[in-house]
Structures are given as structure tokens and as C-alpha cells.
């Protein structure tokens, strides 16, 4: 199926609730823990407001599965999975 990550990929972190943002299913809310990755993309992602502690709602995947749309700080943002992978988050219950 399109857009569903394969199970073989590992999520980073120890906590069961810690995942990278590309793994989160639509209609789920998460809290940002940390942004990793290349310096330039990390800085841009931080600038767009994905700072630690920010609540992010995963809205939907594009029709072909990538990129993914998020809602945070009252606006909508889309990231390719490759960028979403660098954002470590915790699922909000």
C-alpha cells in the first residue's frame, strides 16, 4: 500500500512512545522532542516552529503517500518523509 512505512525500519529512541514524525499516522497528535539531521534542514525545521514541546497534528498524507501535511501553531506545513524522519516526537494520548 502507498504511504505506509515498512515495519523493517527502526524508530529511534528508547521510550515506546518516541517515534520519528514520518511514522505517525494521520489524525494523530504528537509533541516534538528533538530535531536531528543536517544542519541546514534542522535549522529550517526549527525556524518553522517545530521546536521541542510544540504540539503537531498529523493531518494527511499526499495522495501518493508523500509528502505529509501537519498542522502546528495554527498553520499547515508539509514535509517530505525524508525531512519528517529527522523529527523525534512523542505521541499524545
Amino acid at each position: 500500500m502507498l504511504g505506509i512505512p515498512t515495519k523493517s525500519k527502526h524508530t529511534k529512541g528508547h521510550n515506546m512512545n518516541e517515534k520519528t514524525l514520518d511514522f505517525i499516522e494521520p489524525e494523530t497528535s504528537v509533541k516534538v522532542l528533538k530535531v536531528t539531521g543536517q544542519k541546514s534542514s534542522r535549522k529550517r525545521i526549527l525556524d518553522m516552529g517545530l521546536t521541542p514541546g510544540t504540539r503537531v497534528d498529523v493531518i494527511r498524507r499526499a495522495p501518493l503517500g508523500d509528502p505529509v501535511e501537519f498542522k502546528l501553531k495554527g498553520y499547515n506545513l508539509s514535509l517530505r518523509k525524508r525531512e519528517a524522519e529527522t523529527v523525534l516526537v512523542e505521541v499524545l494520548k
Binding site: S40, R42, T51, R60, A62, N76
Partner: protein
């Protein structure tokens, strides 16, 4: 006039900055490029209360880092050119992220005025913003505006002039934790003692050093105090600090927002509901394709009568000129050379204006980023951005507006690749060539052959994109981080201004190149070849063996002989650079049948060419040097002759290679014999 000031317009993308700019300057705008790069720069003028204001529209940015060209341009302009006032346009429906840029502008120590734009939409959404409190908190004038209706513009100009006459500028409303502040202070002390840094806002410069900003570090390295600076910098970890700085800026903003406004987050907004439809898993792509088809129909089908008007007018003008001028060569120069040349520039105007009107509607309404969102997966496979899709599709109508449409792609590398591969998409002008040749040689299978040519064009375009991405235009991938702005009603005025700007740029910048090209080819076809006894521009010389172009054809013959082409075809291809459909007409003249296509196809099929050579010729026509109009816009849009030349050589080599394989390979294997 007493005073002359410079006002820079800053802001995030999609906040209505352009509508504010238009509302301030009206039609008094000049569109050019920032020095040395192809990022667009708009400058406008406005006289208000006896103050002559020059308004500079900075590129829309979310931040002021050194990672994107737009951000570097914006901040360098502010630091180096020191505008008298900076006006930041803020989207009132999206305060938190917009104010992030405000924090950075304030740290730059500029005289700042905030235009709180789209307050009508914020109100409709149910947000309640207390401008007075906001102004007190930020210590910066805040003026509410509605750019699309032109509301609040005078108040904004007034505030900008008032701000200029104030003595104090706040630069540290936003404070960070003690550890950061301590290091900032240490650095500031060093910077302020070194005259080299007197030019720069010291607090901002210190922060950027601590964040590890490459451009700023480079500047610091040239100073004498760099070793001292380095010592302080080494005490902190840039990576941790940069996250902390972003985090603390947003925290301060949140604290402020809690006091100055009441944001309604409870309901599903109109934009979200529309997005549910247009980015729907099943229907999203079909809806997008339908809208593309609508845009295509308007641009090319609706554009046809306007092209005919231009065609008829210039035909009449050329004829009149030829009749009036009694000297034959001069009549031909004016009629067939210059007037036809001007006509061939203007003929593209209807398509360009219509396409940009629609692109403007898509961009201003917010649909353009949805289109990119939907198509990105496909385009990223070939190393392109979702936004590259629209220029490539429009190429099926005409490559000229398609190349210009690449403007909508923000990243310069993605844009360059799109421009370089767009000419491979088979445009409408190549179709007459296919119809004639495929009809003459492939009869019932003509449709399949033509379809194959279109498919080949697409394949060459996307595979070339992939190839360029992994070779000459390699490098760190730009991250895909795209806002999906809320939908807005585009304004007619805004779209018309945008459309007219594009038309003007095309006429001014590309027009000259096209005109020179067309007149140049006329000259080559008219000047008698050395040794032949024809007269300049006479009918017996024009385009025949007796002309320079005929001579060139014969010189080129050995080069194209391996493709099964003779000198006549070489000449027709040279003419084809004027416009590809001319290949057919020139062949008719060269084979001595005039404009009659029926007899031309009979002569060709009777043995003037083999079917394999004909197939090769069609592929060659598809891929070789695009027409002068394309060359003109490629030069204008890439801003570089080097890349323009690269496109020409790359395309022609591919054309030659394909035609060679088809003719030689086919002949050896006995295909189509």
C-alpha cells in the same frame, strides 16, 4: 520634495506582501533581479506627505538564516544597504510563526513598522487581536491593513515616516537565558571594540556567531579580533544553542500572544474542509489534472484568436511595407526580416499573458502549493520539486510560457533544471512537422509515431532532469519544507498586475534576443554566397544554394549525412530555429514545391528520404536547439549565457545521437526498408 527615504518590505511568504506592495506603489514598479542572482527584485516609488519613498520588496522569508538564498538576500540588504525603515507584513491569521521573523528583524536593530495584514480574515475566523497591547509589548508601531482592498495603507506610510523621526531603536526586546546572554555580552564587548564591526548590529552579530552562522563567521574571520571571538564561541555548542534560540523566541512570542490576542482554534476552518476535497486520496490527482486541463485550454485554445489577430496584423504590415518600398532588398529586409521578426516576438504574448493570469490565480488562491503537494512524489523521483510539474505540462502548448512558469519554483537548482529540460516537451509548433512526415511515411501508423514522439519528449525531459541532478547540479538536497497557506480569494487587480509584469519582462528581455535571431537568419538566407552571382535578398538567392545559408547547409551536410539528411534538410533545420513549424515550409521551398504540403509529402515519400531518416528527422526536430523565443527566455530566466549554451549543445547532441541510432541502427537491422 524634501526627503527621500528607502523602505524595505519584509515578511513571510503568502502574507499578502505583494498586495501591500501593489497598494503602496500602484503601477510605479520596476521588476529586475538582485545583483548576481536570478531572484526577482521589485522596486516601487510613492510620494506621501512630501516624502519620496522608494519601496524595495524583499524576498518572502520565514527566517533570516544563511541557508537559503532568499534569506541571505533579505538580510544582506538590511545590513549592508541599511534601509531607513523596514515594514514587516504579518498575516494576522497566523501570528505566531510570523512574529518569529519579527524577533530577528528587531535583533537587526532596524526601525521596524508592522503591517498587521488580513485583519478581516482574522476577524472572520473569530480571532481577537489587541493591536494597542501588541504595540506596547513589541515597542514597535503596529498598523492594521487589508492589502487586497487597500485599507490602512496611508496609516502604514504615516507610521513609517513617524518611525524615521524617532531617536531610539529597540533591539533587545527578546532576551534569552542567562548563559546565552552572558556569551552574547562577552562577544558584543569584543565586537564593539573593533571598528571592523561598527557596520553591523552587534547583538544580532553575536547571536549569529554563537549559532554558527557560516556567512557571519566568514565575515568575522576577516577581522583582527577573530581569535578572541573564537575563544568565546568555543565555549558553547552551536547545535544546542540554535535549538535553544529558536525555542526561546517562540516561547516569548507565545507569552506575548496570550496577552494580546484571543485565537479561535476550536473549529475546522474553511481551508481544512476544501483541502479534504482537493488533496483527497482518490480524487486529489484527478481534480488537479482537470484544473490543469482548464488552464491549458484557456492558455492555448482561447489564446488562438488573439494570436491570429497578431499574425494577420503583422502579415498585413509586412505586405504593405513590401509594396510601399520600391527597393526590393530593402522591402524584403523590412517585410520578411524586421516586421516578421517583431511579429514572431509578439505572437507569444497572448499565451504568456493568459498562462500567467492563471498561474497568478492559482498562486494567490493558495492552490499552487496543494498542486506541488499532490505531485511532489512523482517529481521527486526525477530529482525535481512538485512545483516543476506545471511548467512541464504547459510545455505541451508552448515551451516559452512554460520556461517562464518555472519562476514559481523557489529553489534555484530545481528551477534551473526545470528550465533546462522544459524544451524537450513537445510543443504545438513541432506538430506540423510530425504530421507532414509521419503522414507521408507511416500512413496508418502516423498516430502511433506522433504519440511516441510526445512520449520520447517526456522521457528525455525527466531522465535529463535525473541525470543533471546526479551530475552537474549535484549537491546537498534542499529540504522540502512547504507551507500550505489558507485559501484566499485572488484579486483581479493583483492577477492583472502579475500578468502584465510577465508580459513586459518577456518583451523587454527576451524580445531583443528573438529579434536579433530572426533578422540574423533572414540575413544568412539573403546574402549571396561568395562566388555566386545572385543579388542580395533577391528571390533567386533567398534560402537557396546561392545564399550563405545554402552554403552553410552544404558545409553541414557531412555532419548530418550519417543521419540520412541532405543539405536541404540541414538548411530547413537552421530555419527551424526561427520557429519549429518553419521546418516544413522551408523544406517545401527547398524541394521546389513551394508551400504545397501535399506535393512535398509526395516528393519525400517518393524517395527523397527514407522512412528511417524521416523518423530521425522528427526526433531531431523534437530535441535539437529550441526556437529563438525559447533561447531568449532561457537566457532571461537563467540569467546566464553559459546555461543557455549548455541547453543548446546538450539538446543538439541528444538529437544527433538519437537520429544516428535510428538511421544507422535501423538500416543495419533492415527495419522499415
Amino acid at each position: 520634495m524634501t526627503e527621500k527615504i528607502t523602505v524595505a518590505l519584509a515578511g513571510n511568504p503568502n502574507v499578502g506582501k505583494t498586495s501591500i506592495f501593489n497598494a503602496i506603489t500602484g503601477s510605479k514598479q520596476h521588476v529586475g533581479n538582485w545583483p548576481g542572482v536570478t531572484v526577482e527584485r521589485k522596486i516601487g516609488k510613492r510620494v506621501y506627505n512630501d516624502v519620496m519613498m522608494e519601496i524595495v520588496d524583499l524576498p518572502g522569508t520565514y527566517s533570516l538564516t544563511a541557508y537559503s538564498l532568499d534569506e541571505i538576500i533579505a538580510r544582506d540588504f538590511i545590513i549592508e544597504e541599511k534601509p531607513d525603515v523596514v515594514v514587516q507584513v504579518i498575516d494576522a491569521t497566523n501570528l505566531e510563526r510570523n512574529l518569529y521573523l519579527t524577533t530577528q528583524l528587531m535583533e537587526l536593530g532596524v526601525r521596524l513598522v508592522i503591517a498587521l495584514n488580513m485583519t478581516d480574515l482574522a476577524l472572520a475566523k473569530g480571532d481577537n487581536i489587541d493591536e494597542k497591547k501588541m504595540q506596547e509589548f513589541l515597542e514597535v508601531p503596529v498598523v492594521s491593513t487589508i492589502g487586497s482592498k487597500g485599507n490602512g495603507i496611508e496609516g502604514l506610510l504615516e507610521a513609517a515616516i513617524d518611525e524615521l523621526h524617532k531617536t531610539r531603536v529597540t533591539e533587545n526586546v527578546f532576551t534569552y537565558d542567562d548563559q546565552i546572554e552572558e556569551n552574547v555580552e562577552k562577544l558584543r564587548a569584543v565586537l564593539e571594540s573593533d571598528p571592523y564591526f561598527a557596520h553591523y548590529p552587534s547583538r544580532w552579530f553575536s547571536l549569529k556567531l554563537l549559532e554558527g552562522d557560516e556567512n557571519i563567521i566568514k565575515k568575522a574571520k576577516e577581522s583582527n579580533s577573530y581569535s578572541e571571538i573564537q575563544k568565546i564561541m568555543n565555549q558553547t555548542d552551536a547545535e544546542i544553542l540554535e535549538a535553544k534560540v529558536a525555542d526561546q523566541r517562540y516561547k516569548t512570542i507565545q507569552t506575548m500572544l496570550r496577552q494580546v490576542c484571543n485565537i479561535n482554534t476550536s473549529h475546522l476552518s474553511g481551508s481544512d474542509m476544501v483541502d479534504r476535497v482537493v488533496t483527497n486520496k482518490v480524487l486529489g490527482i484527478p481534480i488537479f489534472l482537470s484544473l490543469m486541463w482548464a488552464a491549458f485550454e484557456v492558455t492555448f485554445t482561447f489564446g488562438t484568436p488573439f494570436m491570429n489577430i497578431i499574425d494577420i496584423f503583422f502579415g498585413w504590415l509586412a505586405e504593405t511595407a513590401t509594396n510601399v518600398i520600391s527597393v526590393p532588398w530593402l522591402a524584403s529586409l523590412v517585410g520578411e526580416g524586421m516586421i516578421a521578426g517583431v511579429g514572431s516576438v509578439i505572437i507569444f504574448l497572448p499565451n504568456i499573458l493568459l498562462l500567467f493570469f492563471m498561474i497568478s490565480l492559482m498562486e494567490d488562491s493558495g492552490y499552487m502549493s496543494r498542486a506541488a503537494f499532490i505531485m511532489d512524489k512523482v517529481m521527486s523521483k526525477f530529482g525535481l520539486h512538485g512545483k516543476s510539474f506545471i511548467p512541464l505540462v504547459m510545455g505541451f502548448g508552448c515551451n516559452v510560457p512554460a520556461i517562464m512558469a518555472a519562476r514559481t519554483i523557489e529553489d534555484s537548482r530545481d528551477r534551473l533544471i526545470t528550465i533546462l529540460v522544459a524544451p524537450f516537451i513537445s510543443c504545438g509548433a513541432r506538430l506540423p512537422v510530425y504530421i507532414l512526415l509521419a503522414g507521408a511515411f507511416f500512413g496508418r501508423d502516423a498516430g502511433v509515431v506522433i504519440f511516441g514522439l510526445y512520449a520520447l519528449g517526456i522521457m528525455v525531459a525527466v531522465l535529463s532532469a535525473k541525470l543533471m541532478r546526479s551530475t552537474i547540479l549535484k549537491g546537498e538536497d534542499t529540504p522540502f519544507i512547504m507551507e500550505l497557506p489558507s485559501y484566499k480569494l485572488p484579486t483581479l487587480k493583483g492577477s492583472l498586475i502579475h500578468m502584465w509584469e510577465r508580459g513586459k519582462i518577456y518583451l523587454k528581455k527576451a524580445g531583443t534576443i528573438i529579434l536579433i535571431g530572426v533578422v540574423g537568419v533572414w540575413l544568412l538566407a539573403s546574402i549571396p554566397a561568395p562566388g555566386s552571382n545572385g543579388t542580395f535578398a533577391s528571390e533567386e538567392v533567398y534560402g537557396t544554394t546561392k545564399s550563405v545559408i545554402g552554403m552553410i547547409g552544404q558545409v553541414l551536410e557531412p555532419l548530418v549525412a550519417p543521419l540520412g539528411f541532405d543539405w536541404k534538410i540541414a538548411v530547413a533545420l537552421v530555419f527551424g530555429v526561427v520557429a519549429k513549424e518553419i521546418v516544413v515550409g522551408s523544406m517545401g521551398v527547398l524541394y521546389g514545391v513551394g508551400e504545397d504540403e501535399e506535393s512535398l509529402s509526395n516528393i519525400l515519400a517518393a524517395g527523397a528520404m527514407t522512412p528511417l531518416a524521416a523518423l530521425g528527422l522528427m526526433v531531431f526536430t523534437l530535441l535539437y536547439v529550441p526556437c529563438f523565443a525559447c533561447i531568449g527566455v532561457i537566457k532571461r530566466e537563467t540569467g546566464s549565457w553559459k546555461w543557455t549554451l549548455f541547453q543548446l549543445i546538450y539538446g543538439t547532441s541528444l538529437a544527433w545521437g538519437f537520429a544516428f541510432v535510428i538511421y544507422q541502427g535501423g538500416t543495419r537491422m533492415g527495419l522499415l526498408a
